[in-house]
Amino acid sequence: MAYDCTDTAAFKGVWVFCEQREGKLMPTDFELISEARKLADELGCELSGLLLGENVEGIAKELGGYGADKVLVCDSPLLKDYTTDAYTKVICDVIHEYKPEVFLIGATNIGRDLGPRCAARLHTGLTADATHLDIDTAKYMDFLRTSSTIDVDSQKFNMEDRNLKMTRPAFGGHLMATIICPRFRPQMSTVRPGVMKKSAFDAAKAEACQIVKPAFELTEADCKTKVLSIEKAAKKMVDLIGADVVVSVGRGISKDPQAGIKLAEELAAELGGVVGASRAVVDSGWISSDHQVGQTGKTVHPKIYVALGISGAIQHVAGMQDSEMIIAVNKNDMAPIFGVADYGICGDLFKVVPQLIASIKAAKAAE
């Protein structure tokens, strides 16, 4: 049957692009599979992972442990390292063949290169960097009740609506928008890493996960770009997304940035966490960009988030507001950060933080 992107009824199943680098799955793959499992259950359909690489069949079954019924594995030496052209061709060819209803891609630097190219070729819409996904309208309404200022019960909703509702921040987090793609399939979104929760690994499900090897054609002539080399950053990147505690510094450290960062490191060490930073600190070159929390940095939801000398610009808040406990230290008692903080301390961080470290040490000793 000919492929027709407007024949919405012909498309079935939820797919997740599972990115690998150097033969290892990315953490965001497990988050997306876990989230997509819920969507597939709401639609009553299968969930499939799509994995491209060289000799990657061995890592595919792990995705089953997070909820994938199947993994489609496309194996080729030409797919070892990511290239836009090779990956786009193979993915679009496989989608033409299997016609999934929903196709999700992690919004990594690679996913955001691949997603738009695929969507343009498949003639469908693409939502960028979604932070929340719903099929079921009742669940979407519950989401709006807790996450918006909309008076949900005064509005009419079509409870039969089965479109994927893809919610994302816009204008630096000042607005949220829910996007739909009603006329074309697949419904595509890139999804922000670190936002969706990974479910518990189920070894039996991993074992039961089916491996499918779709046919595809790919030659060297299909790849218009050449990867000359791949370099890892020289120093180890900070794992902000996986951290239980994040101690972030903002412009408040400017009178002595190095001392401020050192204090944050000491406090982070005492709490068992890592150091984050606002955009201002990264832009000033005081710390590397892998530490950046916020709209253009990373989204974190640690158990404890400590904001030191951060005013609380909405772009920053967008990246940390879902932390379980937020502690803010700021000299300005009108700083917007106190509006999202669970506990606020108005004071100079260079005075407060050493006291805090001492008090935490004392409290630990007293236990």
Binding site: T108, T127, A128, G172, I180, P182, T225, A233, V340, D342
Partner: protein, 264 residues
Amino acid sequence: MKAIVCVKQVPDTSGKVAVNENGTLDRASMATITNPDDLAAVEAALRLKDQTGCEVIVVTMGPPPAEGMLRELIARGADRAVLVSGREFGGSDTFATSQILAAAINKIGVEKGDVVFCGRQAIDGDTAQVGPQIAEKLHLPQITYVADVKVEDGVVTAKRMLEDGFMMIQAETPCLLTCVKELNEPRYMSVGGIFECYSKPMDVFDYNALKDDPLIEVDTIGLKGSPTNVFKSFTPPQKGAGTMLEGDDVAAQMAGILAAKHLI
């Protein structure tokens, strides 16, 4: 040899952002700027001009006042500008926008040796989608997240940033690059440039100028035609105010709270 640069005028979201009661952005009350990543793209094109003498053409899609931004970019050193503007284009999503811009670039003409520069993403939408989608429509190779670039003998070598490092990628021209603002430090307008900026050519491509281009499907552009639609837009609720700790022993109070919650 040409360098074609796609730019966007955006509301300055680093300042105060005004939101209308219905949840849309109150654009009228906000200052506009040239999107920061796009300035890096313009600078990269101007450096290519410094090196090779190529022509630099800046292209934007937007309402007629975007002409002011284009004149500024001419004052920085661009040779000419194209304003893509029409009511039919309003409300376009990235799929629709990329068709329109691809058709405009097609009309300008892309040949061997040419490079199309875009910013990585615009600060109002943060999608990073229009660059790659233009490349797809024009059948050009793309390199995104470019933090360093060299163009020699019709071959582009670029440093493409990853979260945990970078790739070195090579592509033949014509190709499309999306630039991050770490790529360079944009130059200022020159005095001579400011004097000349209104005497340099600026074309306006409206709906009629582009509608017959094979890259445009007229029923998938604009607000109605775009594949994606905004289902709802809303403002996040303000979180209830927390507790401000007061007194001389705030540090001890805080440590006590953490201990009571078994967090230390």
